[in-house]
Each structure stands twice: as C-alpha cells, then as structure tokens.
C-alpha cells in the first residue's frame, strides 16, 4: 500500500506555527532549521498531530454497520438459493462472504472496541460537508446548463471558502481553471461533455 492516509496526514501536518515544539537544539553548522528531533521524537510529534481519535463508540458503530450488512447479505443470498458445494447456486458465494462479515463485525464489536484508529468528527469536518454539497450542486447543474458555470462556482467554493485564498486569487484562478478545462476538454479533446458555449 503506497498511498496510505498516514502519508497524506504527515505530509500536510508538518511544522505548526501555533505549536512551538520543545527546543533541544544541538550546536549544528546549519542550526537555523526548524528544530532538532530524533526519529523517536518525530514519530511522537506525528502521533500528536493526528486528528483526535474517536472513542469506542465509533468502533461499535462500525461493528453494527458491518454486522447489519452481513445479516442483510446473508438473507439476500439465502433468497438467491445456496445449492450444495457440489452444485453451487448463485447465493452460495455471497452467503459465505456475508457470514464472514457477520463474524468479523461481531469480532470488531467485542475485541476491537478500544483500538484508537477511528477519528473524531470535528468542526473541520463541516468543510468536507460543504465540499460534498458543492459536488452535488455541480452534478445537478451539469446536465442542465453545461459544465462551465458549475465548474466556476465549484472553483470559487473550493478556493475561497475551503482553501482560504484571497478574493483576487480566487477570481483569477477560478476563471483561469475553467477556461483551461474548456480549452482542454471541449476545444482540444472534443470530449462530449455538456457545455453551454
């Protein structure tokens, strides 16, 4: 697995202007860098910068969803007909997976409750909701008025409100990006995307 969430997390959560790290500087020739940390310190710091972990409730919720999915799958597969190992019917394989899901879901509820690998939803999760809303609006408008105006709106939302760019940057970039997409997809590649102009 090369694209782990860890990578993104670490990659964006680097030096923190609000959190001056404990200073233990060694007299180094080029000591005006961020600070001197041993690998262990660094690992601890990354750990701290991770979003706050959600408690057992999140894991129990996951376990319930997984078990419910498994139960639904089991019922659905039985309806499809199981057959026998010698003459399997369409339901046999989904039945096996669904039963496995039920077992794994229950195991998660029993043994995996206290593992701290789920993240809490925070105020910044609202940004994700806003981003999602912009995607929904984009898709709804796309079929009606073509992609140009929705793309422009999406750019403005993502640059100005989600990305905290200045208004000037937002204006320049969102027009620029939309025009570039038009030139690339409509003029150059002749992609049959709905467009207004």
């Amino acid at each position: 697995m090369t694209s782990s969430p860890e990578a993104g997390r670490r990659a964006t959560g680097g030096s923190h202007p609000l959190h001056p790290e404990p200073e233990h500087r060694v007299a180094d020739p080029g000591a005006d860098f961020i600070e001197d940390l041993t690998p262990e310190d660094l690992a601890a710091q990354w750990e701290e910068e991770r979003p706050p972990a959600a408690g057992p409730a999140a894991n129990i919720a996951s376990a319930i969803v997984v078990t419910a999915l498994g139960v639904a799958g089991t019922i659905g597969s039985i309806r499809l007909g199981l057959g026998s190992p010698a003459e399997p019917e369409p339901g046999l394989w989904p039945f096996m997976i669904s039963v496995l899901l039920v077992v794994l879901g229950i195991a998660l509820g029993l043994f995996g409750r206290n593992v701290l690998d789920a993240e809490k939803f925070s105020r910044s999760s609202l940004q994700v909701a806003a981003g999602l809303l912009s995607l929904v609006v984009f898709t709804l408008l796309l079929g009606r008025i073509g992609f140009e105006i929705p793309a422009l709106l999406l750019n403005v939302v993502w640059l100005r409100f989600l990305g905290r760019e200045t208004w000037r940057m937002t204006a320049v970039l969102s027009v620029g990006i939309t025009v570039a997409f038009y030139l690339l997809f409509v003029s150059a590649l002749n992609v049959p995307i709905p467009h207004l102009f």
Binding site: I97, T139, L162
Partner: protein, 508 residues
C-alpha cells in the same frame, strides 16, 4: 537468443514516439504527485483512469506504471528538504535525509537518493526480465484450485500488511468481495443484489469505485486537514554527490536493491514495507548505529533504493499470476481489464509486445527520472510552493469530468460521489481502502475459481489439500491468520506471569 527476441522487440514498442511521450507524461506526473503532499500514486492513477480509454493498452500501462515508480522518486524531495514525506514509502528517509539538510548537505542526500533509486529500479527491471517469464511458465499449469488459494492468500496478505488494523482491513476486503457479487452471476446469469436497477444489472464498474474510494475519498479527507504553508528552500546546492559519499552509500544501495526486489514480489509487500525494512537493516549492520537519525547517508540510500526496487518488482505477481500485490497494482489490474487484457501467466506469451513494452519502458522512465532528480531537481523544488488549496479544485474537476467521459453518464458521476463519501468515511473510521479495492478486483476471479474447483472436486472441499501447490498456499494462509492470535496468546501469558497491566490494545 530465443529468449531475448521478444525482449528486444519490446524496445521497439517503447521507442515509438507515442509511447515515449506517455512514458514521459507518466513519470512527470508521478514525480509531481510525489513532491506535492496530498494525493498518492494510487489516487492519482485512479483519477486518470478515464484518460486510458482512448489509447492503446501498452501506452496506457506505460503511463500508469510511470506514475507509480515516478512517485517513489518525487516523494524523496519533500522528505529530505522539509521533513514531510511526500509518500508513505519515503517516511523513513526523513530521519537522515532531513538531518543531512540541516548540515547543509541536502544536495548530497537528494543526489544519493536519486542514484540509489535509479540503481534499485534498474536492478529490479533486470530481475523482472528474468524472473517473470519463469514464474509465468510455472503458473501456466495452475488450475482453479491454485487460483482460489492464490487469490485468498493475496487478499489476506494485503489486508494483514496494510496500515490499518487487521480486523478492519479484513472487513474492508470482505465488503469488496461482496460488492463484486453485484450484478449478473457468471455461471447462471441470475441477477444478484441489483434491487431491480438496470444500471446495476451488469455489476458495479471498477472505475467509479476506484476513482471514488481512492481519488475523491482522499481529496475529501484532505479537506479536513490543516492547509499548511510550507516554506520551500529556494535553491538546492550541488546535487552531485562526491565520490566519498557514493562509496559510503554503495553497500546500502546494493543491499537495498536486493531486499526491495524480493519484498516487492510478496503480496502486501511493496514500496513502504521495503523502505522500512531497508532502514532497519542498515541501522543494524552499521558499525556505529548512533549515526542514524543524525545524517547517515546509508539511511537515505538504503530505503530510497529499496522502495524503487520494490515498486518495480511488484509488477511481477500482477503480470505473471494476475494477482495484484498492492492497491496500486489493483488499479493497474483494473486498467488492464478495461483494455480487454487479462493479466495472467499467458500474458508473456500471448501479448509479448504489451509485456515487454511495459517492462522495457521502465528503463527509459528511470533514466528520465534520474535526469529530473539531479539536473532538474530545482524545478520540482520550486513546485513545492504551489499550495494544496489550489490543486484541490483542479483534481476534483478532473475526477468528475473524467468519469463522465467514460460512458457520457451522469449516473457514473453520482457513483463516484457516493463512493467518494464512502471512502472518506472509511478513512475516518479507521478502515484502509486498499484491501476493499483489491478484493473487489479479485472478487470475480476468486468466486469463479472457487466454484470451478468445487465442481472439479464434486463438492468435496478437502480435495484442496490434495493438490501440493494449493496445499502449501492454504497452509501459508492459515499460518498468516493464526500467527497474530498465537503471538497475542503468548504475550498475554507472559504479561500475566509478570502481572503488568496493559492499558490499550495497539491493534487487532
């Protein structure tokens, strides 16, 4: 000579201008996303899948693989300069790479990493050239029972080795298998779990799932992160390492190449694991391990070489067995299927142009990357100043418009958005998306092999144990399942003996 003929013909394929162009495009994109924090290679390859519809299979895979190994080069730059690993496989490079930067030797670290990456990559391509036909020849006799065992083991290993907790990764894999059953049953033609929907009658498409879960899911997840401004250094001085540095690093580069090559072949192995293993090995071997973390050049050379070698050799199980060894390979597997090419032991013989074209393109790709990493490194350092906030809307638009263009279907956009939210929630709740996508890709193969095997055995599952290769694979499967349970039991006993209370379980 007979062996080398298709290999040489492969060079002919690579040297076609279109293929060269897409190779360059792939490695440049790979390098860029390696440098820029946020999207990883799996997400990028997923997002660019629609682009591959209009081009030849060889060309498409040359570009996609270029993104994968190119990202291994690019990830180094941020690790060394900013102490921010651009890719998961460059995390350990941070320790000594950044220490070298502080000593004013950033150029040395980058240069050695680039040369190590190049050597590791090239050694692995040569290894791939000789090993892959052997493996494929061996696997030609594989029947459905062997494939059942192999697919099961592959999914299990990827779920076990991935970053998330074991239990959650297994759940993700099981959900992937279940999603793969939606649509028409391959044996009887009966509809399964379509809920009467016509759009689901042919099953869920791989592309919207991969684009949603990997691509959009990761973009949404990144929205929640702090957008930090990184202050990139304006210039990196002297990227050409001295002869002394090279001499010091040569052992690490040699060991990293071999270690990375072999770890990359294993399912679930790949670049990240091999970089960690190489760092650990170099530290253990060193006469003075305390130098590590304070700017030991071997600590950069070893892992950077190993992750490139592994990125290359992880193509072996995909191209010879048809079993992807990690999530990125799962997406390339999907891309091949889209092109009507089924990867498997027959690929080397039936489609030598594709096989050797892709393998040989990696030589060219690695040369291009070496050029970009040493003389042109300044360009990529400057790109570090582009803020992630500006890239986000561009990637979103590419994803949404891209998926539309496949079938001219707005329903597909909705699917991507749905799976994007699903991928985001998976990450929030601590589930790795990798095993899900991998299991989804292998789901149809696994079910078909299992059912064929059962027919073959007349319903008697114990006959799996009667075939030597299948028996060995299933034995390993069981060991992988039981090992952590046994280890835990032993640990618990030890803990009880010393009566030390443990507070939190680290992972399940």
């Amino acid at each position: 000579m007979e062996f080398f003929e298709p290999v040489l013909n492969g060079f002919g394929v690579v040297l076609e201008p279109t293929n060269l162009l897409y190779c360059l495009l792939g490695v440049v994109i790979g390098m860029l996303i390696g440098v820029l924090p946020g999207l990883g290679p799996a997400a990028t390859i997923a997002i660019l899948l629609p682009l591959t519809y209009g081009i030849e299979p060889v060309t498409a895979i040359i570009m996609l693989s270029g993104i994968f190994y190119g990202a291994q080069y690019g990830g180094t730059i941020t690790s060394v300069l900013l102490r921010l690993p651009g890719e998961a496989s460059s995390v350990v490079t941070v320790f000594d790479g950044y220490a070298l930067t502080k000593q004013g030797r950033a150029g040395t670290a980058l240069g050695v990493a680039a040369i190590g990456s190049f050597i590791g990559g090239t050694v692995a391509i040569v290894g791939l050239t000789f090993l892959a036909p052997l493996v494929a020849g061996f696997a030609l006799d594989f029947g459905p029972p062997e494939y059942t065992a192999l697919a099961l083991l592959g999914i299990l290993l990827v779920a076990t080795v991935s970053n998330g907790g074991r239990l959650k990764s297994l759940i993700a894999a099981a959900v992937g298998l279940l999603l793969a059953t939606v649509g028409r049953d391959g044996f009887t033609g009966e509809s399964r779990f379509t809920f009467g929907s016509l759009e689901l009658a042919d099953g869920l498409d791989f592309v919207p799932i991969a684009m949603g879960i990997f691509g959009l899911g990761e973009i949404l997840y990144n929205l929640e992160e702090r957008h930090n401004k990184v202050s990139a250094p304006a210039k990196v001085a002297n990227v050409w390492p001295s002869r002394k540095d090279l001499k010091q690093a040569s052992g690490a580069i040699g060991r990293g190449s071999v270690l990375g090559f072999f770890l990359g072949i294993l399912p679930g192995g790949g670049a990240t694991l091999s970089s960690l293993a190489a760092y650990a090995m170099e530290k253990k071997r060193a006469k003075d391990p305390s130098r590590f973390g304070r700017g030991a050049i071997e600590g950069v050379a070893g892992p950077e070489t190993a992750n490139n070698a592994a990125a290359t050799s992880s193509f072996i199980p995909l191209l010879t067995l048809g079993i992807p060894a990690n999530a990125t390979m799962a997406i390339i597997f999907g891309a091949l299927l889209i092109q009507g090419v089924t990867p498997g032991p027959q690929l080397v013989q039936n489609d030598p142009e594709l096989f050797w074209g892709v393998v040989n393109s990696m030589y060219i790709g690695n040369i291009l990357l070496l050029i970009m990493s040493i003389p042109l490194v300044g360009v990529f350092v400057r790109i570090l100043r582009v803020r992630p906030a500006i890239l986000a809307p561009i990637t979103v638009l590419i994803t949404l418009i891209g998926v539309y263009t496949i079938n001219n279907s707005i329903f597909d956009i909705w699917l991507v958005i749905f799976f994007g939210v699903f991928g985001y929630l998976m990450k929030k709740f601590g589930f790795e998306p990798g095993p899900l996508v991998l299991a989804f890709v292998l789901g149809a193969l696994l079910e078909e092999s299992l059912r064929r095997s059962l027919l073959l055995f007349g319903g008697d599952a114990t006959q799996f144990a009667g075939r030597p290769i299948t028996a060995v694979l299933l034995f390993v499967f069981i060991v992988v399942i039981l090992l952590p349970v046994l280890q835990k039991a032993r640990k618990n006993r030890a803990a009880k003996a010393t009566t030390i209370p443990t507070k939190h379980k680290e992972s399940v």
